[in-house]
């Protein structure tokens, strides 16, 4: 019985999202002009769906205090109240409004994941480009260091570092960013390696340009495309590992509303047949799927691949 309702809900969800994606493409193509419009018109429905979801998440994250009916941390009822017209998704283990916490969670979870990815990219790409441009012992040293760091599974490494530094949002961001920057380093170094041997780099070197100019003006513009796609993929990985850590109780700490820890706090409800704790987990899954869809489309466009 539960299996049947599960599949029916899934089918309805699928139909609604296909419709929404189609509508989004129709609206977006009328609002845009030029190359943008052409790109959107040829975009597959999955990519449109992805863009729509990302847009909705952004709006919710920016307008969280306006949308949420109750404050993030206020206890406003008894614990585990069922769904009703005042508390749309009921209340959690402490009697806080689930719906409001979901809304604030968008801001906290996505914001922290975004900040972490940005930091990882800053560290990874700067070091990667430096290693490729300078070469020699710096390149060797950094590359071997990254090799060794990547020999430890990232979640295990994160757990080890969190034991040592304790769990707070700042350490979480730094630890995950440092671990993930090794992957960014690998990619940006590999891509820049191919650019550094070009004649125009040689010409710039002979002109007497400095290292900073070489990296920012000559190399960076030629490696942005793969790095942007990588940013999307990295964001997914970072988002998932932060959620996993929060779920394990080691990431974002209460009372900050966060999807991973909301699942953990309310998990007991699932065994009673209540799907509320699945919603934050579903919100995580939906965003990662959306980003993956858009990245897939961008990679396809960038490669010019036609099967």
């Amino acid at each position: 019985m539960t299996i049947l309702t599960f599949f029916i809900t899934f089918a309805v969800f699928l139909a609604v999202s296909i419709g929404a994606a189609w509508g989004f493409r129709a609206v977006a193509t009328t609002l845009t002009r030029g190359t943008m419009q052409r790109a959107l018109r040829t975009a597959p429905l999955t990519a449109c769906f992805g863009m729509l979801v990302i847009l909705i998440y952004l709006i919710i994250a920016l307008l969280a205090p306006v949308i949420a009916p109750f404050p993030e941390r206020a206890v406003i009822g008894s614990q585990f109240m069922p769904w009703s017209s005042t508390h749309w998704l009921g209340t959690d283990a402490l009697g806080r409004d689930m719906f409001s916490r979901m809304i604030y969670g968008t801001r906290n979870t996505v914001g922290i994941a975004f900040a972490t990815t940005a930091l990882a990219f800053l560290i990874g790409s700067v070091l990667g480009l430096l290693a490729a441009t300078v070469g020699g012992w710096l390149d060797q040293g950094l590359s071997r260091l990254v090799d060794v760091l990547m020999a430890i599974p990232s979640l295990i490494f994160a757990l080890l570092l969190l034991t040592i530094f304790g769990t707070s949002i700042l350490t979480l961001i730094v630890v995950i960013a440092v671990i993930d920057s090794t992957r960014v380093f690998r990619l940006s170094r590999a891509v820049a390696e191919g650019v550094v041997v070009m004649d125009y780099i040689e010409a710039a070197r002979l002109r007497g340009e400095g290292l900073w100019y070489l990296i920012t003006r000559e190399i960076l513009p030629n490696v942005t495309a793969p790095l942007v796609a990588e940013f999307g993929l990295r964001f997914c990985f970072v988002f998932l590992s932060i959620s996993a850590l929060s779920f394990l109780g080691l990431g974002i700490q209460p009372p900050t509303a966060d999807w991973g820890s909301m699942v953990r706090e309310n998990a007991t409800l699932i065994t009673f047949g209540d799907i509320t704790p699945l919603l934050p987990a579903g919100a995580i899954a939906l965003l990662t799927v959306a980003v993956n869809f858009v990245v897939d489309w961008q990679l396809y466009r960038a490669s010019g691949l036609k099967e």
Binding site: P153, G166, L240, L248, T271, A285, T288
Partner: protein
């Protein structure tokens, strides 16, 4: 044959070197903390006696090289030191009973995932660009994007709610194999679903890559059946990439195991590690991190060796 053995010995040596450096990192990470580790773990309000006790326990008054050497020789003899949270209990004691459980779960999941993923991957490559391929691919892409705990709770909601399987995977020592398989089914299924998606996509890519080579076209032009082309011509050459795919994903299982064990309250290493992290029980975390990292390095090593052995060009080098 001699150079093959030399190659394997070389790889093993390299693996051991990697493991050594990894152990240095895992042990040395405590040194990253500015100031005194004992003080930092216990917080500002700690009594001087408690701080002194931890210092004594971790030999913090010794230089780091001496501590590391002692630790490493202990580890090589199966002695991981004593736990901080549970005073005086040997870490190896806490780990040993759980190590078997974690390996059981990982092997259980692998035994389901590997055949399933390879079959699906080959089928999808065979019928590529068909409806089946599209559906399988977008399902796999979505499954990869799901957090493990989401998959786990959906399974609990759908399968444990109906009363088909237990949602708590308690593993009493007295249970026989059938009972254990039944109790660990949901955790193993979760891991299978997560890993299969990765493995299937990578198998598909590996086989499609091969299918574009000229000798496959030749076999097709001879009028050979597509299934025979795949099984007799493509598959032997796909062993190397597929072995890589399998090893990579088994390595991925190591990370997945942590979250899944917590969801199902499965008494394995991952759960012990998570508990120890929140208690800041550093000897236990170091020991488990070393075990997981060693498994990870060894799996990657195995993939390397297998892919070399399956390649005639590397086996019979001129």
């Amino acid at each position: 044959m001699a150079h093959v053995w030399r190659m394997i010995a070389q790889r093993l040596g390299l693996g051991l070197l990697t493991l050594f450096v990894v152990s240095v990192i895992i042990f040395g990470a405590t040194e990253l903390l500015p100031g005194d580790f004992a003080q930092a773990v216990l917080g500002q309000a700690a009594t001087p006696e408690a701080v002194a006790a931890i210092r004594r326990e971790l030999d913090l008054d010794q230089p780091v090289v001496v501590r590391y050497t002692n630790w490493l020789f202990g580890v090589l003899q199966g002695d991981f030191g004593t736990s901080l949270a549970q005073r005086g209990r040997p870490v190896s004691d806490m780990i040993l009973s759980r190590l078997g459980n974690t390996f059981f779960l990982a092997i259980y999941a692998a035994a389901m995932a590997v055949p399933l993923a390879l079959t699906l991957g080959i089928l999808v490559a065979l019928w590529r660009n068909s409806l089946f391929d599209r559906v399988a691919n977008s399902t796999a892409l979505s499954a990869i994007s799901f957090p493990e705990f989401f998959v786990a709770y959906i399974l609990i909601f759908v399968l444990a709610q109906g009363g088909y399987f237990p949602s708590m995977a308690r593993m009493p020592a007295s249970a026989d194999l059938g009972e254990k398989l039944y109790r660990a089914f949901l955790p193993a299924l979760t891991l299978t679903l997560v890993v299969t998606a990765h493995m299937m996509r990578m198998t598909r890519a590996a086989i499609i890559n091969l299918l574009s080579s000229p000798y496959i076209e030749m076999a097709r032009l001879k009028g050979m059946r597509p299934s025979r082309v795949i099984v007799h011509h493509a598959l032997p050459n796909a062993i190397a990439p597929i072995a890589n795919v399998v090893a990579l994903n088994l390595a991925y299982l190591i990370t997945g195991v942590v979250v899944v064990e917590v969801v199902f309250v499965y008494p394995g290493l991952g759960q012990l590690m998570v508990d120890s992290v929140s208690r800041r029980d550093i000897p236990v975390v170091q020991a488990i991190a070393l075990i997981f990292a060693a498994a990870y390095v060894l799996l990657n090593l195995a993939a390397d060796v297998i892919s070399t052995l399956s390649n005639p060009r590397l086996m019979h080098r001129k």
